[in-house]
Amino acid sequence: MSNRSGWSDAKLGIGIVAAMAALVLVVALGLAIGTRALPLADVVDALRSHDHSDAAIIVWDQRLPRTLLGALVGAALGVGGAMAQGITRNPLADPALLGVSAGAALAIVVGSLAFGITALAPQIVVATVGAAAAGAVILALTGFGHGGVPPVTLALVGLSLSALIVAVVSILVLLDAQTLDEYRYWLVGALSGRGTPTLTTVAPVLILGLAAAVTAVRGLDALALGDDVARGLGVRVTRARIAAGLAVILLTATAVAAAGPIAFVGLVVPHAARAITGPRHGWLLPYSALLGATLLVAADVVGRVVARPGEVQVGVVTALVGAPMVLLMLRRTARAGAAL
């Protein structure tokens, strides 16, 4: 959306530190705020002592894993969105909008119904297969990103693919009330009730995916110049796309398995990041990771505050916050006369 070259490298370096500080701040809020508010001093005490006091149990067993999981999932969604946009050279390419998340969701439901897979680790494997299948279908349909598919076409195809997958999932879960009952709490996208086991299962996979993203930076920068120029620079275009695509699929599928299909983070965060960094992926990906993590943890905190003593799931908050942000960006680009 934005063609501005962004800030200078020195400014970007300071910006990264500021973004980290913002992340630390929202994580601290995530530890302090909840059904029972804890003063920050108590949180620090609980983190230090790790004893059997109420505060320590709340912080260590509930809020810390949940908040860290939120940060990791947010980073994965932000980076996944930025990379998907780079691969397809398409500003609307958000894995959630394109049906990749729906593919992962379908695989998880089928796995649970047909093969009784309910543990998280095999679910991640199953979700990755589903996300890869959906991603491959989308890429094949839209000419592997070098056909110059208009953004709206890509989004419409993605939504239609999602609609198909959602219809299949609905039929499956409607056959069994118990599956539906579990499915609906996961479908909305939530971090509630995710404990330490979830975090320790998911964290290595997400960190692996983020590391794979780092190796894809050069290829993505070359792809941004167009396929012909990229080839001239000695980049193997198809291989770069596939490598980056695999990282996107791993990040998306793991995030979906851990927290459900959360929309809008993968769409909003890369655009916000790109407005700061410009098109270079070496800066864009770290900024997307930090902003995504901050956004998701902040959304989770907001969801816990607005509906006390209950909570609003993080997926609802990101939809309600994300949609106006996307619309605002559309407005700004329209004013600048830029064709999306």
Partner: protein, 377 residues
């Protein structure tokens, strides 16, 4: 590059052939007034109407209990056995009428949206209105559909009456948001922006629908999830009335707008020189399409892909320039009827929701359309 060029040439030849095959247009003159008539359009319309009629008869005859045709005929006029009369007139007939009306409304709405956005894969399903209507309906189900109130009590009655109202209200809110934010300023609508804003609103409303599903108890969630697939199961005459009124009011408006719409297909500046009020026409087309969608969703739930596919099928049948509105409506009716019959027969003993069939059949067709147009580019 050579491959691409030869594809372009082939496409040009294909278009020329289509025009040649579309047959001559005839000008009917009467006292100085003239109308351009495409005989093929009328012929296709007649055939489609016959197909719809035939499918209606099939839909009346098949089901858990198969009825011979003469029983169907006698049941319709109320002169068969009591049980047959009941099956045909009380259960199957309203369902068939709802299918025809919903299919026609969706087909027409899709044709209007595709014509005004000049985008063959745009449809009200994915630009926010259907999702808004779904959210409205789910809210009503949550508010009044609670089993705690006792089934068959006042609450159940309220949810039965309120559900279509909630859907229509949700559709209006979504339409207001999409058109308000997408319209922009200037002599014409930025229709591309309407689609973009619609996609974003669709995603946001789907998020809200999912939130709604987590709020109620498991019975409410099941009912809402079943409704969200889109089905004709158990639809009665009370669903027919609102829909019939909506179609009776909106179809003539759509046909009047259709004339300006074909001028718009030449491009907005050309249409303006021809005396078309571009912005007003575009707004009217969107409003009519969204109202039709809201009425259809209120009656049958968000049945997917009909609005997307019916106009494309109709366009290929009619082969005239512009978007055939009546043929799209008839095609929509035929597709939904066929889908409902298939949904009742596909798995013996189980009735699938019609929306599941339209999605399973419609999505691959849409994807094939996209692949083909990619190949032609």
């Amino acid at each position: 590059m050579t491959v691409v060029r030869s594809r372009a040439v082939r496409q040009r030849d294909g278009e020329a052939a289509t025009l040649a095959r579309s047959g001559p247009a005839v000008v009917l003159r009467w006292r100085g007034a003239g109308v351009l008539v495409h005989p093929r359009t009328w012929a296709v319309g007649a055939v489609l109407a016959a197909v719809v009629a035939a499918l209606c008869i099939v839909a009346l005859a098949v089901g858990t209990q198969w009825l011979p045709l003469d029983d169907v005929a006698r049941g319709l006029v109320g002169e068969a056995e009591r049980a047959t009369n009941l099956t045909v007139r009380r259960f199957r007939l309203p369902r068939v009428v709802v299918a025809v009306l919903v299919g026609a409304a969706l087909g027409l709405a899709g044709a209007l949206v595709q014509a005004v956005t000049r985008n063959p894969i745009a449809a009200p399903d994915v630009i926010g209105v259907t999702a808004g209507a779904s959210f409205g309906a789910v809210l009503v189900l949550l508010a009044f559909g609670g089993t705690t109130f006792g089934a068959g009590g006042a609450a159940a009655e309220l949810s039965r009456v309120g559900l279509p109202l909630g859907a229509v209200a949700g559709a209006f809110v979504a339409a207001a948001i999409v058109l308000g934010l997408g319209a922009g300023k200037g002599p014409s609508f930025a229709t591309q922006r309407v689609v973009l804003v619609g996609i974003v609103c669709h995603a946001a409303f789907i998020g809200l629908v999912h939130w709604g599903l987590t709020r109620g108890d498991v019975d409410q969630a099941t009912r809402a999830a079943a409704w969200l697939v889109g089905s004709l199961h158990g639809r009665g005459w009370e669903h027919v009335t609102g829909l019939a009124v909506a179609l009776a009011l909106l179809l003539p408006v759509a046909l009047v707008l259709g004339r300006s719409l074909s001028a718009l297909s030449l491009g907005e500046p050309s249409a303006a020189t021809l005396g078309v009020r571009v912005r007003r026409t575009q707004l009217g087309v969107f409003l009519v399409a969204f109202a039709l969608t809201g009425a259809a969703v209120a009656a049958a739930g968000p049945v997917g892909f009909i609005a997307l596919l019916a106009p494309q099928i109709a366009r290929r049948l009619v082969r005239a320039p512009g978007m055939p509105l009546v043929a799209s409506a008839l095609t929509g009716a035929a597709v939904l009827l066929a889908a409902d019959v298939l949904a009742r027969l596909a798995v013996p003993g189980v009735e699938l929701p019609a929306g599941a069939v339209t999605a399973l059949v419609g999505a691959p067709y849409l994807l094939w359309l996209v692949v083909r147009s990619e190949g032609q580019r």
